[in-house]
């Protein structure tokens, strides 16, 4: 089976190379024979990669330690669940996983566009095939997952215990689904540039791809944060590590793109901008992969296995050169026919939202690569950490939050005074009222607390603008159709899904902002060496260390559990049981934190260590409002689902457009 897997990878490489050539020929000439053969390529390619993946999965599930990869990331006593997930636990497997997703997406693009968009799709397929070829070259010649150990070991090294967590099982694939997904809009944008077919058809064709990839990227980031929070046990969820930044930057650029395309669709403007953003999103996904695999950027756990990173750097260079050249040569065609009418208009609020999002992206980028730059320029390596990102990104983020409120209620083209008055008075009143109400309760002793206070005020303002939108729409329907509140609200959202889905996403974002503001400024912690019966007070809670117990779970795992009684106002509200797990063969124990989560705050317990006399070091955090962040994530998920849900009206519109397109671009007419 391993030989089959390896062989399938070789066939896949040959197929994708052939695919590049035949799609180009098919697209350029009248070679109907090549066009027909190109038709089958996505299927063959997908089948080869799928066979190869199946082979690796089988090796993992059957404990075939003759494979170096299986030996390195699995072991006999690993849960089946984690055996499946160790597929993407290491470098080689994760590249194969990436290729599997890429070929699957290519296949979907192919099936979606059968017999339509014949002008653009072959070129988009060329781009997809070229990228697939790059990954297959790596898999075949540099990081082959089917590398054999001559004498198969008895047992594997096992998966790192820190990765044995359900968030860790879903986090990487989610992120990859997003990362790889942006290849499709990229491919269509390139195809549009190559064919000089630069109206907004490529944007419409890839709208859902962009939204869904954005969604996965967003969820991937949140799942990662949740994993860090629950599994790493340091009381936080985001550390501005280069690796986190790598996933965060494409998300920012993609968010900017999602907004600015609306202006192109509506006003036929900002074509160069949109084109650049979609190309930049893809470049950022590759850059992120480069960062995480090169070891060039000082992160404590990057090592000197630089070669793969430099393949990505080369690939990145080629992409940037091609994109720049294409945009520059097509510049006259990308000139827009309109211009912005007024400073106070929705268009300009979109423009500013884009600048702000890119500002956060650039600050993050700059901080991430600053050690390299400073070493090259000044000869000294200078690093920046979380304080830098907090100092820079928090104020910019607050401007962004304000724009979330302003954007949707300011008028298109030119906002009149009456429009401003009508739409802004209520939200501003609510914002100011919130400011007044919160003022006596919130401490304002340092910058972070002031930022958080302002963020809460802005959240109230933005939330009001969004709720008013829902309220107004519902009210209008109730009057017009004499429906009940729920009926009106339902059909309001149902009839313009993308608009109201977007508003729901905004609600989720506001909740996340509020959660971050609450947990960043008002979090408190205490670490203390306890003897049995000792207590500590923190933010109104009294915590008593009651006992220490041990459980031998199975032959390979022993758990040490501390029991902590948590009291509030003299009443016992919770019994916390943070643990430390000892795995056989791993000299590093793994802590399992225990968290009591409410809307108000999380009580977060870490058993740091313990001694023979049952004394233990325990660290306690009280983190306010963390739950709002995770809940905000689910609201975003729901909103995105509403947005991408197939819309009958939209479908009809698109069918009509397709008829027109087909009449114009069918290959028979070429």
């Amino acid at each position: 089976m391993n030989e089959i897997g390896e062989f399938a990878l070789m066939i896949a490489l040959a197929t994708s190379l052939y695919g590049c050539v035949s799609y180009v020929m098919a697209a350029r000439g009248n070679r109907i024979d090549l066009y027909l053969s190109a038709e089958k390529i996505p299927f063959i390619l997908w089948a080869c990669v799928a066979i190869s993946s199946a082979a690796l999965w089988k090796a993992l599930l059957t404990d075939d330690f003759s494979l170096q990869y299986v030996w390195a990331y699995s072991s006999r006593d690993l849960d089946t669940f984690y055996k499946i997930s160790s597929f993407w636990g290491g470098q080689k497997g994760s590249l194969l996983f990436w290729t599997l997703l890429l070929t699957t997406y290519s296949l979907v693009v192919h099936i979606q566009n059968r017999k339509r968009n014949a002008m653009v799709v072959p070129y988009a397929m060329v781009v997809l095939m070229s990228i697939t070829t790059f990954f297959l070259l790596l898999l075949n010649f540099s990081t082959n997952p089917f590398e054999i150990i001559p004498v198969a070991p008895e047992d594997g090294r096992g998966l790192n215990p820190l990765l044995q967590n359900y968030w860790m099982v879903i986090h990487p694939p989610t992120l990859y689904l997003g990362y790889v997904g942006f290849t499709v809009p990229f491919a269509f944008a390139m195809a549009a540039l190559i064919t000089r077919n630069l109206d907004d058809s490529w944007i419409r064709l890839t709208r859902k791809w962009t939204l869904i990839s954005w969604f996965f990227l967003c969820m991937g980031n949140l799942f990662g944060a949740q994993w860090a929070y629950l599994e790493l046990g340091w009381g936080g969820y985001w550390a501005w590590d280069p690796v986190e930044n790598a996933a965060f930057m494409p998300l920012l650029v993609a968010t900017a793109y999602l907004h600015s395309v609306m202006i192109q669709e509506r006003k036929d403007m900002m074509k160069v901008w949109n084109m650049s953003l979609v190309l930049l999103t893809f470049v950022m996904t590759i850059f992120g992969t480069f960062i995480t695999r090169s070891g060039l950027i000082q992160s404590v756990h990057t090592f000197d296995e630089a070669t793969l990173g430099f393949y990505f750097l080369g690939f990145l260079g080629v992409i940037i050169v091609i994109c720049t050249a294409l945009i520059l040569t097509r510049l006259p065609l990308l000139r827009s026919n309109n211009e912005l009418d007024s400073f106070l208009s929705r268009e300009s609020s979109f423009l500013f939202n884009n600048l702000v999002l890119l500002g956060i992206g650039f600050a993050t980028f700059w901080g991430t690569i600053f050690p390299i730059i400073s070493e090259a320029v000044r000869g000294v390596k200078i690093t920046v950490g979380p304080p830098f990102y907090n100092q820079v990104n928090v104020p910019i983020g607050m401007v962004l939050l304000a724009l979330i409120g302003i954007g949707p209620i300011i008028a298109w083209r030119r906002a009149s005074w009456s429009n401003l008055k009508k739409n802004f008075v209520k939200p501003l009143t609510v914002g100011l009222a919130t400011a007044a109400i919160l003022y006596p309760f919130l401490p304002l002793t340092n910058r972070s607390e002031m930022y958080s206070y302002l963020t809460f005020v802005l959240c109230a303002f933005v939330m009001t603008t969004i709720l008013i939108e829902f309220f107004k729409g519902t009210r209008a329907r109730m009057d017009l159709h004499h429906e009940s509140v729920t009926e009106s609200l339902g059909s309001l959202v149902w009839r313009s899904k993308s608009r109201y889905g977007g508003y729901i996403v905004h609600i989720g974002v506001v909740l996340i902002f509020a959660g971050i503001a609450g947990s960043q400024s008002y979090s408190e912690n205490v670490e203390k060496r306890f003897k049995i019966g000792d207590s500590v007070e923190l933010k109104g809670f009294t915590l008593t260390y009651e006992r220490l117990g041990f459980i031998e779970e199975n032959a390979s795992k022993t758990r040490a559990i501390a029991q902590i009684g948590v009291y509030k106002n003299g009443e016992r509200v919770w019994t916390g049981q943070p643990e430390k797990e000892f795995y056989k063969g791993q000299n590093q124990p793994v802590s399992e934190v225990d968290v009591r989560s409410t809307w108000r705050e999380d009580v977060y317990l870490i058993l740091a260590d313990f001694a023979e006399d049952e004394s233990a070091t325990i660290k306690v955090y009280v983190n306010p409002m963390v739950r709002w962040i995770w809940f905000g994530g689910w609201v975003i998920a729901f909103g995105t689902m509403v947005s991408v849900w197939p819309d009958r009206l939209e479908l009809r519109r698109r069918l009509e457009r397709m008829k027109v397109q087909e009449a114009v671009f069918s290959p028979a007419q070429e």
Binding site: N160, V243, Q298, V300, H301, I382, V384, G385, E552, F582
Partner: protein, 162 residues
């Protein structure tokens, strides 16, 4: 150029300028010099009081915990040619042990003792999986806050009672 366009350019420049200002101010107030122990000792300029991030290996047998305050620890880190005394208060990470590679963040005092407020460890063999997975770098989180601490008499299996 028409005045409308000028207005947009001015507005955009304001945003770009504000971001640029925040970045440069952020870098000048929060950045840390990154040296290995040998590099630090080879510096001719004094870095006393400046924000520093130093990489080195823990000198064997140098880890010394304060008997009165369990959370206070003194140790030394070394490279090929020189070593550095470090004081740290807080929970120490799991892989903090003799010979292990660590990164400390903090400042140097007049006597050349390093006062660390962050202590991070590298653990090649164990974290390789995550490094390669690419998406998960727990080690780069500030380990002073991090979970995973050594058990007393590190290495010995815990007794099994309950």
């Amino acid at each position: 150029m028409n005045p409308k366009k000028t207005k947009f350019i001015v507005g955009s420049m304001l945003i770009v300028g504000a971001v640029a200002y925040l970045i440069s101010a952020g870098i000048s107030t929060t950045s840390q010099y990154f040296f290995t122990v040998d590099e630090l000792m080879a510096q001719t300029v004094s870095y006393e009081g400046a924000g520093l991030k130093i990489k080195g290996n823990v000198v064997n047998g140098s880890i010394n915990r304060d008997p009165d305050d369990y959370l206070k620890v003194r140790f030394a880190i070394e490279e090929k040619e020189s070593n550095l005394q470090v004081v740290y208060k807080g929970i120490t990470p799991d892989m903090f042990q003799d010979g292990g590679e660590v990164v400390v963040e903090g400042t140097l005092d007049k006597e050349g003792v390093f006062h660390a407020n962050v202590l991070m460890t590298s653990c090649p063999s164990k974290y390789e999986a995550e490094k390669e997975a690419g998406k998960t770098h727990p080690g780069s989180l500030p380990l002073d806050n991090k979970k995973g601490l050594e058990s007393e008499g590190s290495g010995s299996k815990p007794k099994t009672s309950v």
